[in-house]
């Protein structure tokens, strides 16, 4: 069964660093798994935890938030905010039974296309092993 399961992963990519890395991976003809639904944001700090939760509620099996390295944020502080929020959110999601491997925060600079490919492959395999994320089955009322 798990061989047939293809994880759906939402990727929030910051415009200045990670999205550029994705472009670079593409133009360099790097192969990476097609499981990612990419949402471009101007900064990883823009990613409201509500987005992540909504992604899970709508059918994502995993969420990757990626942005500039700490200290390199185009808006100076945005990625620090992302780092703090993700630390707490991961804790909360874990308490709701959502495994830590499903939510990931990664710093990927504009030149790190290779890094992105590595992370992508790793995350897809981890989640494939975990299986699809179950959501509350609506009881017909």
């Amino acid at each position: 069964m798990s061989d047939e399961f293809d994880p759906k992963i939402v990727l929030f990519a910051c415009n200045w660093c990670t999205y550029a890395a994705l472009d670079l991976a593409g133009t360099s003809r790097m192969k990476y798994p097609p499981n990612f639904r990419v949402i471009k944001v101007m900064c990883s700090g823009r990613v409201d935890p509500q987005f992540i939760i909504e992604a899970f509620m709508q059918g994502a099996d995993g969420v990757l938030v990626a942005g500039c390295h700490l200290g390199d944020c185009h808006y100076l502080e945005g990625n620090y905010k992302a780092m703090r929020r993700m630390a707490l959110l991961k804790r909360m999601l874990n308490d709701l039974g959502i495994e830590r491997e499903r939510v990931r925060l990664q710093w990927i600079s504009a030149s790190e296309a290779g890094k992105f490919v590595e992370v992508a492959k790793e995350m897809v395999e981890q989640i494939r092993t975990l299986g699809p994320l179950t959501r509350r089955v609506e009881v017909s009322t």
Binding site: D48, P49, L88, R91, M92, L96, R136, V139, T141
Partner: protein, 326 residues
Amino acid sequence: MTDKPKIAMYWCASCGGCEEATVDIAERILDLTSLVDIVFWPVALDFKEEDVENLPDGSVTASLINGGVRLTEHDHMIKLLRKKSKIVVAYGACSAWGGVPGLANLYRKEELISLVYHETPSVVNPTRVVPERRSIVDGAELELPDVFPYLVPIDQAIDVDYYVPGCPPTADVTWKAIETLLSGRLPPKGSIIGASEKSLCDECPLNQTKPEKILIQDLKRPHQVIPDPEKCLLTQSLLCLGPATRGGCTALCIRARMPCTGCFGPLDPVSDYGAKAASFIASIIDFDDEKSVEEVIDKLPDPIGTFYRYTLATSRLAGRLTEGKR
């Protein structure tokens, strides 16, 4: 029947606090009864379900429903009231977001039954009896109602027009909501009525002491510290959810020197209060390295009970029926 607008009130899985809150409008209840006809209110009046069924559809001006949906009976009754009403109002935290009993969604129904009837230290149950939907006792057939596997706010069962926040809503908020409903100038559908459009900080007595930029380097739980009563509690590292919570309650808890726990729920346009409140608290942690941030977060072993205390039932991530790893 007179030409006065008709009002109905009903309770689902309720602790009774919202009913008490309604009665707390005290003398104003006499003003209310001169303005409206209360056609259904199980707590206080004698009208029956048949009386509601016999009303023409849409003839009830407003139905105020409190409590979350847990039994098939609740679902049945609120669907009936929806048919008969122009406006349905989710009154109180439980009907709006599931409330405190929504925390039961963290566990499966089987776990609840197992703890209560087999595992508590005082229970003596060697034959492993549990309450049954149908049981035969001495020839009599006895029935208990069907319980859903988890609790939901009423807007997941019926269409809801307005929400009145609070656990329970205060008397003033209740009165303002009633005035709004009877005013003839209804706000957009889906609005939260009776309370403030601003966060709690706006009406907090300690607001003047709140710096423009709050930053914290620690998180203290209320039993660990005696706060200075003249300073913003967040600046003293107490976890006050005031900035993320809708105002309207006059900051009662803060006046008693306890931090806000978020019972008035989210401001517009937040849909997931727990996530938003957690986001706020996390973003003011004044450390730039992950390790120090984690150390602060470790001071709060129960983030779900803290941020989602009144709103967990709105999240479909809790209450998953399949075997999820914990």
